[in-house]
C-alpha cells in the first residue's frame, strides 16, 4: 500500500466554556487505510477530523504525525491534506474545472501539467464533459464528485471527508455511497471520513472507530464490530441489536415474556444483546418466549416488526420474505443461544 | 504577507475608521457642555447653560420634528401595511412596477423631489405654509422603507400557505388580513416603524426646501444654528439631536435584525 501514515498522539480538544469535545486520544491510520469515524452528533468525530486537517489545534500535549513528520503546528494550507466538506464548499465563482484545478493553481502549477492532472482526476471521478459547467448547474451527486476531485487533485498526503453523503437525499445516498467506496479504494490514499450512518461506515471503511462522548469506544473492521462488539453502545449503535434485560439465574434469563436459555455458564454478564435478524418467529402455542406485534413495516426485501411484552424495551425483529405476522398477532420467539452477544 | 501582519493592518484600519467617526462626535458633545470652547473644557469648565439656551431658542423645532415623525409613522402604516399585503398577495408584473414606482424616492435625490412638490403645490398657500407640506415629503421618502420591511416579513413567513389555511377554515379576506397577516407581520411593522421615525427625525434634504420660517424641524434648526449661532450653542443643539437619534437608531437596528432572523433556527 502507498500513502502516508497518520498518527494522533494524546490529542484532546477543550472548547471555551470547558466543553470537552475530545478526550485524550491515540490513533494510527496505516498508509492507504480508509478509516471511518462513526458516532452520533456531538461525539467528537468532527472535532477529531478538524484536528487532523489543521482547522483546530489540539490541547497542548497532543501531537499529529504524518509519517514521521510532526505537523501539529503546521497550518492547514501547508499540511498537504485534501478535504471534502459536508456542504462541499465548492467555489461558486469558478467552473468545475477551475474548482478542481484550484489546489494546483495556488501551488504554482500551470499549463499542460495542471490540465493533464485535472483531466485525469476528473475522468477518474466520472466528471468527463462537465469541465465548463457552473457549480449551480450540477446535481447533488456531481457536486460531491467535484468536491472529491478537487480534494485529491493536488495529491494530498491524507484525504479527509466530513459527512460526504449527508447533503444528498436518501434515494441518491445508497448509490453514491457504493460509488464513493469504489473511487476511494481506487485512489489507494490514506483517508479518514466522518459519518453518523453505520451502513455508510460499513460500506466504505476498512476499519471503523466508533465514538461516543469524546472517546473511541471500539476500533475494528466492520465485520468484527458487528460480530463482536466490545461495549453495549457499539452493540446497539452499530448493529441495532436488542438489549435483553431480565433476571439471570443458572444460565436462564427470566424476561417479561418468558424464559430464555442462554447457555451462558457462571456469572451473569453485564450486557446481553440479540441482533434483529437472529430472532425467529414461531407459533405462540408452547413457545417459551412470547410477545405481541405492535408495529410492522414492510420494506420489500425484508419486514421489520416491533414486538412488545418481551422485555422492557420493545424488541425489533427483521424477517426475510413477506409472510410475516400482522399487527396485534401474538407470536412466539425463538432466540438461539449461540447468537447471543454477551460481555 | 503573514497572518500577523494582515491582522495588524485590518485592526489598524478598523480603529482608524472608528476614530474618524467617533472623534468629531465627541468633540461636538464636549463643545456643547463647555463654558467656552476656545479656552477649552478644562480651562473654562462644564455647563448645561447652552443646552438650556437651545431649549429656549429651538424647543419648538424639537416638538415639531417629533410630531411630524409620529404623523409620518401613522400615515406610512395606514398606506404601507395594506400595500405590502396587497403586493404579497398579488405578486406579478403590475405589483413589481407599483413597488418600483413608490420606491423612486429612494433613488432620486431629495432635492429633486422637493423641487417637484414645490412647483406643483407651492401655490396652494394653506398647504404650502403648514407642516402638512413637510409631512407629505417625509411620507414620500419613508414609505418605501415601511413597505419593504413589512413585505420582507410576509415573504419569509410564507403568508400564502397561512392565508390558504385560514381560508380553508372559512375566514373572509378581512378576517385573514386582521387575524393572520397583521399579527405575523408585527416584527416587520416594528422595524419599519422605527426606521420611519428615525429617518423622519433626521431628514434634511427635502425639508430644507419645503420648510417655512414657521415650520422648522430639528435638522433645519440645526442648519440655522450652524450658520448663525456660536459654536457652543450649535454643539449643544447637536447634542440634543444625538440624544434623540442614537437610541432610535439602536432600536431600529435591533428591530431590523430581529425581523430578518424570522424563520431561521435560533
Amino acid at each position: 500500500m502507498t500513502g502516508t501514515e497518520l498518527q494522533l498522539l494524546g490529542c484532546a480538544k477543550t472548547f471555551a466554556g470547558d466543553t470537552k469535545a475530545l478526550l485524550p486520544t491515540d490513533l494510527v491510520v496505516k498508509p492507504g487505510e480508509i478509516l471511518g469515524l462513526l458516532g452520533p452528533s456531538g461525539c467528537g468525530k468532527t472535532t477529531m477530523l478538524r484536528i487532523m486537517a489543521g482547522l483546530e489545534t489540539p490541547d497542548s500535549g497532543g501531537k499529529i504525525l504524518f509519517d514521521d513528520e510532526d505537523v501539529t503546528k503546521v497550518p492547514i494550507e501547508h499540511r498537504s491534506i485534501g478535504m471534502v466538506f459536508q456542504s462541499y464548499a465548492l467555489f461558486p465563482n469558478m467552473s468545475v474545472q477551475q474548482n478542481v484545478g484550484y489546489g494546483l493553481k495556488v501551488r504554482g502549477i500551470s499549463g499542460s501539467e495542471r490540465d493533464d492532472r485535472v483531466n485525469e482526476v476528473m475522468s477518474f471521478c466520472r466528471l468527463d464533459g462537465l469541465a465548463d459547467r457552473a457549480i449551480n448547474q450540477l446535481s447533488g451527486g456531481q457536486r460531491q464528485r467535484v468536491a472529491l476531485a478537487r480534494a485529491v487533485a493536488p495529491r494530498p498526503r491524507v484525504l479527509l471527508l466530513d459527512e460526504p453523503l449527508s447533503a444528498l437525499d436518501a434515494a441518491l445516498r445508497d448509490t453514491l455511497r457504493d460509488e464513493l467506496a469504489v473511487i476511494l479504494r481506487g485512489l489507494s490514499m490514506t483517508a479518514v471520513f466522518v459519518t453518523h450512518d453505520q451502513s455508510e461506515a460499513m460500506a466504505i471503511a476498512d476499519t471503523i472507530a466508533v465514538m461516543r462522548a469524546g472517546r473511541i469506544e471500539q476500533r475494528a473492521a466492520p465485520e468484527v464490530l458487528y460480530r463482536d462488539p466490545q461495549t453495549d453502545f457499539v452493540a446497539s449503535f452499530v448493529g441495532g441489536a436488542n438489549r435483553l434485560s431480565g433476571r439471570f439465574e443458572n444460565g436462564q434469563l427470566h424476561l417479561e415474556g418468558g424464559t430464555l436459555k442462554t447457555g451462558i455458564e457462571g456469572q451473569q454478564p453485564d450486557h446481553i444483546f440479540i441482533r434483529q435478524e437472529d430472532i425467529r418467529i414461531t407459533n405462540p402455542d408452547g413457545a417459551s418466549l412470547r410477545g405481541k406485534v405492535i408495529g410492522r413495516v414492510y420494506l420489500g426485501t425484508h419486514t421489520k416488526l416491533t414486538i412488545s411484552g418481551v422485555c422492557e424495551a420493545p424488541l425489533m425483529v427483521t424477517l426475510q420474505g413477506a409472510d410475516a405476522p400482522k399487527i396485534g398477532d401474538l407470536v412466539g420467539l425463538d432466540i438461539p443461544a449461540n447468537s447471543l452477544i454477551h460481555f | 504577507m503573514s497572518r500577523r501582519t494582515a491582522f495588524a493592518i485590518q485592526f489598524a484600519v478598523t480603529l482608524l475608521a472608528c476614530a474618524f467617526l467617533l472623534v468629531p462626535a465627541i468633540l461636538s458633545i464636549l463643545a456643547g457642555v463647555t463654558v467656552n470652547y476656545f479656552q477649552g473644557i478644562l480651562a473654562s469648565g462644564v455647563t448645561l447653560k447652552w443646552v438650556g439656551q437651545v431649549w429656549e431658542l429651538y424647543s419648538d423645532t424639537i416638538w415639531r420634528s417629533m410630531g411630524i415623525a409620529f404623523g409620518c409613522l401613522i400615515i406610512t402604516a395606514i398606506i404601507g401595511i395594506p400595500a405590502a399585503y396587497g403586493l404579497n398577495r398579488f405578486p406579478g408584473r403590475l405589483s413589481r412596477i407599483v413597488e418600483e414606482f413608490v420606491s423612486l424616492p429612494l433613488s432620486i435625490p431629495g432635492l429633486a423631489l422637493a423641487l417637484a412638490l414645490l412647483q406643483l403645490y407651492g401655490t396652494i398657500k394653506g398647504f404650502r405654509l403648514s407642516f402638512w407640506f413637510i409631512l407629505v415629503g417625509h411620507v414620500l421618502y419613508t414609505l418605501p422603507f415601511m413597505i419593504r420591511s413589512v413585505l420582507a416579513v410576509f415573504s419569509t413567513i410564507d403568508l400564502q400557505s397561512l392565508e390558504e389555511g385560514a381560508a380553508s377554515l372559512g375566514a373572509s379576506s378581512w378576517q385573514r388580513f386582521k387575524d393572520i397577516a397583521l399579527p405575523n407581520a408585527w416584527p416587520g411593522i416594528l422595524a419599519g416603524a422605527l426606521t420611519v421615525v428615525t429617518l423622519s427625525i433626521g431628514e434634511f434634504n427635502l425639508t430644507w426646501m419645503l420648510h417655512t420660517p414657521l415650520t422648522k424641524t430639528l435638522p433645519v434648526g440645526l442648519a440655522d444654528s450652524y450658520a448663525s449661532m456660536r459654536l457652543e450653542i450649535a454643539s449643544a443643539y447637536t447634542l440634543v439631536f444625538f440624544v434623540m437619534i442614537v437610541p432610535l437608531l439602536a432600536a431600529m437596528l435591533w428591530a431590523s435584525n430581529r425581523a430578518q432572523s424570522i424563520g431561521k433556527p435560533s
Binding site: 486537517a53 482547522l55 494550507e77 491534506i81 478535504m83 456542504s87 464548499a89 465548492l90 467555489f91 465563482n93 484550484y102 489546489g103 495556488v106 493536488p154 | 494582515a6 485590518q10 484600519v13 478598523t14 472608528c18 474618524f20 467617526l21 468629531p24 468633540l27 461636538s28 463643545a31 470652547y37 398606506i79 395594506p82 400595500a83 396587497g86 398577495r89 414606482f101 424616492p105 429612494l106 433613488s107 432620486i108 435625490p109 432635492l111 429633486a112 423641487l115 417637484a116 412638490l117 412647483q119 411620507v139 414609505l143 419593504r148 429617518l199 433626521g202 431628514e203 434634511f204 434634504n205 430644507w208 440645526l222 450652524y226 459654536l231 454643539s235 447637536t238 439631536f241 437608531l249 439602536a250
Partner: protein, 267 residues
C-alpha cells in the same frame, strides 16, 4: 376586491404626491424659452459640466475609499471575536441616521479653522491645516456617512458566507491573500457592488453637507439649489434635477441588475 382596497391609499398618495409632481418637474424644466433645448444647454455650459464632473469625481473617490475601509473593517469584525467587538461595531454604525448638515458640522469641528486638526498642527508643527470648507472637506463628510452603510451591508453578507469555503481554499493550499482574492471577495461581490452604488448615488445627491461646509462648493445639488433660490432659474433648476435624478436612478438600477438584490440610496 379587498386587495384593491389595500392598494387604494397607496395609489392615491403616489399619484398625488409622486407621479404628478414628477411630471410637473419635467414640464417645468422645458417650460422656459429654450424648451427641450435646455438639456443641450446643460451639456454645452462649461460651468454645469464642470460641476457634474466634480460631483462624479468626489462621489467616485468617496465610494472607493468607503468600500476599501468598510470592507477591511467588516471582514476584521466578522472573522475575529474579542471583547469590545460590539463597541467597535456600535462606533462604526452610530452615524447611520445623521443628516448631511450634522455631518458637515462635525467635519468643521475636525478640519475647520477652529477644528481639532488645525489646533494640533498649529500648536505642534506651527502649520495651519484647514480642509473643511472645500472638496476635501466634502470628501470626508461623504466618507463619514458612507462608512456605516457599506459596513453594515458587507458585514451582513460576510456573516452569511459559508465558512467552509475559506477552509476549503486553505485545505487546498491557498495563502491568506489568495483566499481573499479567490473566495472572500468574489463572495462579497454583490454586497460590494450594491453598497458601492448606494454610496455613490447618495454622494451624488447629497446636499446638507455641502450646504453646511460652504456655499461655494460647486457640486450639482448645490448648483441646483443656487439656480432655484438665488437666480430663480426654475427651468434650469428643474432640468438639472431631472438629470441628477435620472443618473442616480439609472445607476442604482444597473447595480441591481448586476447583483439581483434591491438596493436604495438614502440620506
Amino acid at each position: 376586491m379587498f386587495v384593491f382596497l389595500c392598494f387604494l391609499p397607496l395609489l392615491i398618495f403616489s399619484l398625488a404626491f409622486l407621479a404628478l409632481p414628477l411630471v410637473r418637474l419635467v414640464s417645468a424644466s422645458v417650460g422656459g424659452e429654450q424648451g427641450w433645448l435646455i438639456y443641450a444647454e446643460i451639456v454645452s455650459n462649461p460651468r454645469y459640466m464642470q460641476s457634474l464632473l466634480d460631483t462624479v469625481l468626489v462621489s467616485l473617490a468617496v465610494t472607493i475609499a468607503a468600500v476599501l475601509i468598510a470592507t477591511t473593517a467588516a471582514l476584521f469584525l466578522t472573522h475575529n471575536r474579542f471583547p469590545g467587538r460590539s463597541v467597535l461595531i456600535a462606533s462604526l454604525t452610530f452615524p447611520l441616521a445623521f443628516p448631511g448638515v450634522v455631518i458637515g458640522f462635525l467635519i468643521i469641528l475636525l478640519g475647520g479653522r477652529q477644528g481639532l486638526v488645525n489646533t494640533i498642527s498649529s500648536n505642534i508643527f506651527d502649520t495651519r491645516i484647514v480642509f473643511a470648507y472645500s472638496m476635501i472637506g466634502l470628501f470626508f463628510g461623504y466618507l463619514y456617512f458612507s462608512i456605516p452603510r457599506v459596513l453594515l451591508t458587507v458585514m451582513a453578507t460576510a456573516e452569511k458566507l459559508d465558512p467552509a469555503l475559506v477552509e476549503a481554499a486553505r485545505s487546498l493550499g491557498a495563502a491568506p491573500l489568495q483566499v481573499l482574492r479567490d473566495v472572500t471577495l468574489p463572495g462579497l461581490a454583490p454586497a460590494l457592488i450594491a453598497s458601492g452604488a448606494i454610496a455613490f448615488a447618495t454622494a451624488m445627491g447629497a446636499f446638507g453637507t455641502a450646504f453646511t461646509l460652504a456655499t461655494n462648493i460647486d457640486v450639482l445639488p448645490m448648483v441646483i439649489y443656487t439656480e432655484f433660490t438665488l437666480s430663480a432659474n426654475i427651468a434650469m433648476a428643474s432640468a438639472l434635477s431631472v438629470l441628477l435624478g435620472l443618473v442616480t436612478w439609472a445607476l442604482l438600477m444597473f447595480a441591481r441588475s448586476l447583483t439581483g438584490t434591491s438596493i436604495a440610496a438614502s440620506g
